[in-house]
């Protein structure tokens, strides 16, 4: 009963509008994808041939939690390989594959005086990062941990918000609520002229790899497998590349 109630709640909360005008022949595919792919996947899903795609974007960790609670999803595409790997081990996701890479950058408003990570520890600098459980947050902590201890401490001291997903960080940046934030280069591209990306030094850059898989309880397993394949080649791969994602070697 508890499961049923939770499921009901999540379905009520998570589902958007039902589009009943879709032709019956196309399978309806529900894709849970990391926030950082919002622009790229929204663009390509409109012309996606294999299925009528319904997208649900949130932090990869929130989406994984929904799948654990039994929310009916066909495809799970995350901003790391760890969460899909965990779901696979729990028997909830079928053989996830790596499909794209991304780059963590320091994002600042276009008018900002900040030009490097070295300035982040200065007094009064306000920073937003991802919360610990969302991939962008754990990549960021990985970067910070590679800095000298006193610099890491100074930066952590300047963090004003731990956002649940990259969109939250970008919003705080574009509104001028913070001076800097760690996001993906694709987020800065998507934000247009308002934000500037500062590349991280080579030795700080974490390996950011996205992975996706077919959810075990998928209602459309075949169409879902095609969609996952399309993230690597054809399908939505071009849209991802245009948005600034890298191809997996």
């Amino acid at each position: 009963m508890r499961r049923a109630a939770v499921l009901l709640l999540l379905v009520l909360a998570g589902c958007g509008t039902d589009d009943e005008s879709e032709p019956a022949a196309k399978p309806r595919l529900v894709v849970s994808a990391a926030s950082s792919m919002t622009e790229a996947l929204t663009a390509c899903s409109k012309t996606y041939a294999g299925a009528s795609v319904k997208l649900s974007f949130a932090g990869s960790d929130e989406l994984a939690a929904q799948i654990r609670q039994g929310v009916p999803v066909d495809v799970y595409a995350a901003a790391n390989t760890k969460l899909p790997g965990q779901l696979e081990q729990e028997g909830l996701l079928d053989r996830p594959v790596e499909f794209a890479t991304n780059q963590l950058v320091l994002a600042v408003p276009a008018t900002s005086g900040i030009a490097s990570v070295d300035q982040l520890g200065e007094p009064g600098v306000k920073i937003a990062i991802g919360s610990e459980s969302v991939p962008v947050g754990s990549y960021t902590r990985e970067v910070l941990s590679r800095l000298p201890a006193d610099q890491e401490k100074a930066i952590l001291h300047n963090i004003r918000s731990n956002e649940p997903d990259v969109k939250g960080i970008v919003g705080k940046l574009t509104q001028g609520a913070v001076d800097a934030g760690f996001v993906y280069v694709t987020d800065v591209n998507a934000a247009g002229d308002s934000l500037e990306a500062i590349d991280l030094p080579e030795k700080l850059q974490p390996q950011v790899t996205y992975a996706a898989g077919v959810v075990e309880k998928a209602k459309q397993p075949e169409a879902a497998a095609d969609f996952v394949e399309g993230l690597r080649e054809g399908g939505c791969a071009d849209a991802l590349e245009q948005a600034g994602f890298g191809r997996v070697p």
Binding site: S133, N162, G176
Partner: protein
């Protein structure tokens, strides 16, 4: 009773049963799998206690503002008639129907760093976004209409002869307001206060957008629940149960206050 007249009461009963089931099932589900032991364990975690303490502090601050400013404002709107009164009331009620995300955007656009009043606030050295004060602003914005709206109705419902009597006995309006009108309107005010308190305690969207999420500074219980949802569903459930218990306690207390005031008046 004939068969023909029985269908309507049956329909009413069915509607009530559906309402109760729909509204209580999710709340019951929170408690089904979180034992008292889980609740205590979840509170043992420092982040949870920080969130609870922050929620109580910010909600109390928001309620203080709402009661101090909202009560006289509601009194004025209830006891005077002037041009544009209906428009004012509608403006006050507007945040009631705003989605929380809109409230968050609106606050950023108004008093955020690049908002229309952001520059003036900055000149005064006031910083709201990403601060505890910002949480209080967000809570006050979304919760106050619940109180003011109910307050207007409560003051308007007070028998005018009661107010006039205190006037003819020589009491100033301020004295009449404090000694006659507020006690007379108390059940309605308490109900409005309870609604506003519940809304403030549960505020999520506007807080996250305007004030962000930082443990001990802006991460209230609803934000802490969302944070835990991804990593530890049981902890999220337990923290939810705590919030339900606190909210239920507040609602019950408000009902008792309203009830005893009403009884006290009747006995007088």
């Amino acid at each position: 009773m004939t068969v023909r007249s029985a269908w309507f009461p049956a329909l009413l009963a069915a509607a009530l049963a559906a309402t109760i089931a729909f509204l209580t099932l999710p709340v019951v589900a929170i408690f089904v799998d979180s034992s008292p032991r889980d609740l205590i364990d979840s509170l043992g975690e420092p982040g949870a206690l920080d969130a609870l303490w922050l929620s109580l502090r910010t909600t109390a601050a928001a309620m203080a503002v709402i009661l101090l400013v909202g009560t006289p404002a509601a009194y004025l709107l209830a006891t005077r008639s002037f041009r544009g009164r209906a428009v004012l009331i509608t403006l006050i009620e507007l945040p009631l129907v705003l989605p929380p995300a809109v409230a968050g955007i609106a606050l950023l656009a108004a008093v955020g760093p690049s908002g229309i009043a952001g520059g003036s606030l900055e000149a005064l050295g006031i910083e709201l976004s990403l601060t505890t004060a910002g949480v209080v602003v967000a809570l006050t914005f979304v919760a106050s209409p619940f109180y003011v709206r109910q307050g207007i109705a409560a003051f308007a419902a007070v028998d005018p002869t009661l107010r006039d009597a205190s006037r003819t006995l020589g009491a100033s309006e301020a004295r009449g307001f404090a000694r006659v009108m507020i006690p007379a309107a108390m059940p309605g005010l308490a109900a409005g206060g309870a609604l506003a308190l519940g809304r403030a305690l549960g505020e999520f969207g506007a807080t996250l957008m305007f004030a962000g999420s930082f443990q001990g500074v802006t991460q209230t219980v609803p934000l802490a629940i969302y944070d835990r949802f991804a990593t530890d569903f049981d902890a999220a459930l337990a923290l939810s149960a705590v919030l339900v218990a606190v909210a239920a306690g507040i609602l019950l207390a408000a009902k008792l206050v309203a009830g005893s005031e009403a009884l006290g008046r009747a006995a007088r």
